[in-house]
Amino acid sequence: MKFIRSLICLCAFALTVFPGAVAHADASASTAELKDASGKAPVAADMQKGDPGGTLTGTINDVPAADPKAGVTLADVANQVGQNKIGINFTWTLITGFLVMFMQAGFAMVESGLCRVKNANHTYMMNFMVYACGLFAYWVIGFAIQMGGAAGNANLGGLAPLMTEHPITILGKTWGLFGQNGMFLAGHTYDVGVMVIFLFQMVFMDTALTIVTGAAAERWKFLTFCVSSVLMGAFTYPLFANWAWGAGWLSQLGTNVGLGKGYCDFAGSGVVHAVGGLTALAVALIIGPRIGKFNRDGSSNAIIGHDISAVLIGCFILAFGWFGFNPGSTLGASGAGCLRIGSVAVNTMLAGCTGTFGAILYMWTLKGKPDASMSGNGLLAGLVAITAPSGFVNPTGSAIIGFIAGILVCLSVSFIENRLKVDDPVGAISVHGTCGLWGVLSVGLFADGKSNYGGAWNGVTGSVTGLFYGDASQLVAQLIGIATLIGFVFTFSFLLNWVLDIILGQRVSAATEIAGLDIPEMGQLGYPEFVFAPEPDIMLAAERAVAV
């Protein structure tokens, strides 16, 4: 018995000591290898001769040593690897953020091109000013509400200063409501990782804001537009974005009640586009149609935009920027499934392509002409729809999603104009609202369960899987997201803009609208040297009727 006990003790001792000895031996070997590499590294004299082949640049000489006397250690190398990973992800996220920022130019061209020349300056100015309004509001409070509780992103170094989500407990489950850290990016949020996520999220928010200007173009009072945009950037957008992306309750549907991986919206079909599109619908309802848009019998008149070339170039700029929108939403190019960026980018391209085909074939087949503005809207519809599922679906799925969106946008434009009698000069409600909601829904249908972003999504182990691949509960989570977009975001925007209408007035005067908003609102014509063609007779008659 004593012998057995001694034997066990001996084994235990050996098991304790042996791995340490092996590790020590490995460390010694690695240290020796590092010293060897240092010895072989190019010296100053080699570097002075130049390095045309690039074989001497980027060696162990470039790894900073904590103790120069000891030389480069394993710890130094490990630290440098960590720095490299975060550096790659910072660079990726920032550059994709810059691409999204450039989308503002695309929106400006699309919206202005689809408006009449007498409102060109005003429409461009709304698209220009929305950037400042949104950025300011987001810096002051919006970012804190959205991301103030969103710690834990390993791609960007953890974002530890953002960890104060305000919760509410219902029936024993804790649900996130809004973040609290990050107002003015002050205090602990003065942090390198937080700055990166702020820039990236800010340009997304600004995209949502600029959608509204399209639906309310040619009649929105500039002062009210500014105030409405500030409030949307401060409250409306950040609240929903928190619920979906900032550790809020929609993202917890998986962990709390077992609905798939919670509400999933990879790059913002819902968070960005549906929020913008539904707010656009709310504002368009309150502000009413342009003079001359509808006849007494309810039929509508086409009010042709002044520059279709600007519209199509703008669409291409937007499609280019979308490569920031979707692949950038991995928030990195290194670690945690980030290598899927190629797949995300290809899905984005494909959906834009099939969306264009969907719209152009619909118009050509049923209306007789391959309508240019609807083709542009088809491209955007496909891109909007693939924004949420781009990280979770395969190329076939993305092509189907885009094609459906291309047809859907044509049907939606007709429905909103002819049934709802809502005037949307650029089709923003259909492109971003309708197709945004379709994008959210399509995650619950087409997600193929092959994506793997660090082994879990929204804290639930596994990959996002839709109904067609066996998980019906994911579809329910997406439906709850859609219901929240309509039930909360639309209603909140409607009430907010209704109050603004009472206090400030949403709409310019009839005289200003007839003259065009450029001179009365902006003090300058968009194209001062142009000779304007007179309005069509039907528009002149409508303007005369209002003037009387």
Binding site: F136, A137, V140, I141, A144, L171, M183, F222, L223, C226, V227, V230, A234, L253, V257, G258, L259, L281, L285, I286, I287, G288, P289, I291, F294, R296, L420, K421, V422, A472, S473, V476, L479, I480, I482, A483, I486, G487, F488, F490, T491, F494, W498, I503, L504, G505, R507, V508, S509, A510, A511, T512, E513, P520, E521, M522, G523, A542, A545, V546
Partner: protein, 129 residues
Amino acid sequence: MAANKGQGRSLSLFLVGLTAACAGLGVLSGGMGTIVLLAGIVLLAGSLWNAFKLKPLEGAVALKSQPAVTKLVGAIVVVAGWAVVLLGLHLTPSVGGRMIAAIVGLAISLVGVLYILPAACNKNAIWKA
């Protein structure tokens, strides 16, 4: 009268008020937080009041009054649909039950968005006159 100096002053005051209110909110636990927050709210109210006074000077708009009660009913129906969806989460643990609740709730919300609110907003539309 369209854009004017008064509107510019209102917007300036609004931005200053919002900044002050948020700064106060950010340091609410500190001694000065409440005072700064209140000052910000006063500035915000002042800016809105200034813009409200300017509103009648801007001329008639091509939009007649929209029935407030119907608009409110529409908004309530939209929210009610959302409430049905959220209630469904707690009423049943089954995926099928929750899906039915979500679809029913969405249908209710869509009645508000696609029927009641457009009807209210277009009731006195100028193009009908």
